[in-house]
């Protein structure tokens, strides 16, 4: 058994299969704490390693042969209709590696409170479903794993145990069921008209059919799948329920969930762009929805009184900014948008992790009740301040590079008003986050500051460690943006549509 | 003349539709649950008429036995008369 055959074992399907198997096993050993801890640590290490050693390429799960005539003769030729396909390239590797990092952080932080096998199983289910949606090249996979993602996120919200969390989870499940049915109805229309589920095949057939006009079935299928995309990525009509979900879950796992949402936004947009590019108003629709979610997210962030809700609305606004980059649909803006998704996921994760520390110390996240944590938490305020700079797009961080590129691409493409809007959003994000920082660290606290309180409040070192790693990566990408940007630009060129 | 298979298909279609509308009008929740079970069963038979027997078996088990079962447990644990 030489190195070649060992390398050939790591196919992209393993990235989805391994977390699923780990989730099932963790479910079985749920009561026993030490077994759960050991098994979870092993699977965390494997999940962190797997994206780096998986081979690049296209991986398909069998096809069904169909026979077709060559023109004008009676010769029957058997062709292979690719059914279920996974694409694994550099961009997918970056996405899945980042997801694995944040999920591992969430699991390791969870061990400080108590050990629950089902909770870690739900995080593993989240990794599996997000990896499958990022890698998939056919609509069947996307539908199945989006439903599994809905279940996983709802379960992570239910695990908190308060009545408000139950209400949020119920609303999220009802909306998720309806949105999943909408996606399935759009897929059924595509299946009925063209007879295949593979995106590359559908793209060729739709492009060749579009010579004679856009068909009505395609427009209705686009509307349905677009509605499903709006729900899964937290855009305008559904931004309230998504930010509710981020704020009611534990903050360490909310960092993981908002990363999932941003990457699924990009991955699903790539799929629906390749299918529905011929429809004339498609890009305008994406741009309109993204601008609205950007504005509403920031406006609602400014008036929140709970710290994680503020962060959640900022995350929604940044997802809208990514959508703006994707909606302008030129090569430069799409690469800037995808780059911003990667950068902003890391930067928001830093802030969510700092909220997790605040929750550990003060047991509440209401901004009227916390305060005065500046000298009690070591160097956490420093990392939080740097995180706020990172989210608002200040140099030398990576979000500066990506926001700058989106703004310049917007004015090059003929939308200078959009550049002004993005700059205003960035300023408003900074104001909202500084309000949160002041409320948590700078002002006088009321509840828990008693006489004889120790100087240093107790918090976990692991969270600080993860925050420092993420800040270092943000700084590194900010100083050398071309290292990641070249892969993003190659990915955009390989889409073939823009 | 229409074949017997298709006639049964039409009967199941109307049963499903009327069962679902009637289930939503009820004030007694247990009756609504039974009507939803009836609608699931009609849809299962409709799948068989549409030449998909595997899906018919799955819908009969899950949609006509399991799902009304857990609905009935919920109605039993909450309240029976409500609009």
């Amino acid at each position: 058994m030489n190195l070649e055959s060992l390398q050939a074992f790591f196919v992209p399907a393993l990235l989805v299969a391994f977390p699923l198997i780990a989730a099932i096993c963790l479910n079985f050993i749920h009561g026993r704490d030490r077994a759960v801890k050991g098994f979870a640590l092993i699977s965390v290490i494997v999940v962190l390693l797997l994206p780096w050693i998986t081979q690049y390429g296209v991986y398909w799960f069998g096809g069904h042969p169909y026979v077709d005539n060559i023109e004008g003769t009676n010769i029957m030729l058997s062709k292979l209709n690719l059914a279920i396909v996974y694409n694994f390239g550099v961009i997918q590797k970056i996405f899945i590696a980042l997801l694995a990092l944040l999920a591992s952080a969430a699991i390791v932080i969870h061990f400080t409170e108590r050990t629950s096998g089902v909770y870690i199983a739900m995080i593993m289910l989240g990794i599996a479903s997000a990896s499958a949606v990022i890698m998939a090249d056919d609509v069947f996979n996307i539908f199945v794993f989006l439903e599994i993602l809905t279940i996983s996120q709802a379960a992570l919200v239910i695990a908190v145990g308060s009545v408000k969390a139950y209400k949020t989870a119920l609303k999220y499940l009802i909306l998720g069921g309806v949105a999943g049915s909408a996606i399935l109805l759009g897929i059924s229309l595509l299946l009925g008209k063209y007879g295949m589920l593979n995106v590359s095949d559908l793209h060729n057939v739709i492009v060749s059919e579009a010579q004679s006009g856009i068909s009505q079935t395609l427009i209705i299928a686009c509307a349905l799948i677009f509605t499903g995309w709006l729900f899964e990525s937290g855009m305008v009509p559904f931004h309230i329920i998504k930010s509710d979900v981020y704020s009611k879950a534990r903050p360490s796992v909310a960092a993981f969930m908002q990363t999932q949402t941003k990457f699924i936004l990009v991955a699903m947009w790539v799929i629906i762009l390749r299918l529905f590019y011929g429809i004339p108003t498609f890009n305008a629709l994406v741009l309109g929805v993204a601008v609205l979610s950007m504005i509403f997210g920031v406006i609602m962030a400014l008036k929140q009184t709970e710290f994680t809700r503020l962060l959640a609305y900022v995350a929604v606004a940044q997802a809208g900014l990514v959508g703006v980059g994707l909606g302008i649909a030129t090569k430069a803006s799409v690469s800037a948008g995808v780059f911003h998704a990667i950068n902003d996921a890391m930067a928001m994760a830093i802030l969510f992790l700092s909220a997790s520390i605040v929750l550990q110390i003060t047991k509440t996240l209401n901004m009227h009740k916390v305060g005065g944590l500046l000298w009690k938490t070591g160097s956490i305020p420093l990392w939080s301040m740097l995180g706020i700079f990172a989210v608002s797009g200040m140099p030398p961080f990576n979000t500066y590079q990506s926001e700058f590129r989106i703004i310049s691409a917007a004015s090059e493409a003929g939308y200078p008003e959009l550049s002004v809007l993005i700059i205003l959003t960035s300023i408003a994000t900074f104001v909202a986050l500084m309000k949160g920082f002041y409320a948590v660290y700078l002002k006088e606290g009321q509840d828990y500051l008693g006489k004889g309180e120790k100087e240093e409040a107790a918090y976990s070192i692991r969270i600080e460690f993860v925050m420092a790693i993420l800040l270092a990566i943000c700084l590194g990408i900010g100083l050398f943006p071309q290292s990641v940007l070249q892969y993003v630009q190659q990915f955009v060129i390989s889409l073939g549509v823009i | 003349m229409i074949s017997g298979y298709m006639l049964m298909g039409y009967i199941f279609m109307f049963t499903a539709l009327f069962g679902s509308v009637l289930a939503l009008i009820q004030r007694d929740l247990m009756k609504a649950v039974i009507l939803i079970g009836l609608e699931g069963l009609a849809v299962a038979f409709l799948y068989q008429t549409l030449r998909a027997p595997d899906v018919g078996i799955t819908q009969a088990i899950l949609g006509a036995a399991l799902l009304p079962g857990i609905f009935a447990i919920t109605v039993y644990k909450t309240r029976r008369e409500e609009e």
Binding site: L170, L173, V178, L191 | L29
Partner: protein
């Protein structure tokens, strides 16, 4: 326009009616259980659309030795070649989608109903205007 040829369009119409009734229930009904029944109806309607698309006049499940000697059907006596048969059989791909969809929906409904029981124990009523009343924080 015999009743036989209208069968497939009428199935589509039934599915559309189920989706509309389910959507009405989710949006307008006050009781929580009726909302969940509405989501059930929506998913039933969408599954019916998928299966109806795959409908064709004839389907058969053939064994390997029947495959060797060709298939003789009741409707078309001259049909002995497998590719000709496969071109007229019902489309099997929607069955796979529907099976996955039914199973995932059942698990989502199980979680929703467990949450409904828990919320009833907390609030004492299943009416949505009582449970989801906006509280000033």
């Amino acid at each position: 326009m015999s009743l036989e040829s209208l069968f497939q369009p009428m199935c589509f119409l039934t599915a559309a009616a189920l989706v509309v009734v389910g959507l009405y229930a989710v949006i307008f009904m006050d009781n929580l259980l009726k909302k969940i029944i509405g989501v059930t109806l929506i998913s039933d309607g969408v599954n019916l659309v998928l299966i109806t698309e795959g409908f064709n006049k004839m389907v058969a499940i053939i064994s390997p030795d029947m495959f060797e000697q060709g298939v003789i059907s009741q409707t078309f006596e001259n049909l002995k070649e497998f590719p000709e048969f496969a071109a007229q059989a019902a489309f099997p791909l929607p069955s796979a989608l529907v099976l996955t969809s039914i199973v995932i929906s059942v698990s989502i409904f199980a979680i929703m109903l467990a949450l409904a029981i828990r919320l009833y124990q907390e609030y004492g009523s299943l009416s949505c205007s009582v449970i989801f009343k906006e509280v000033e924080e």
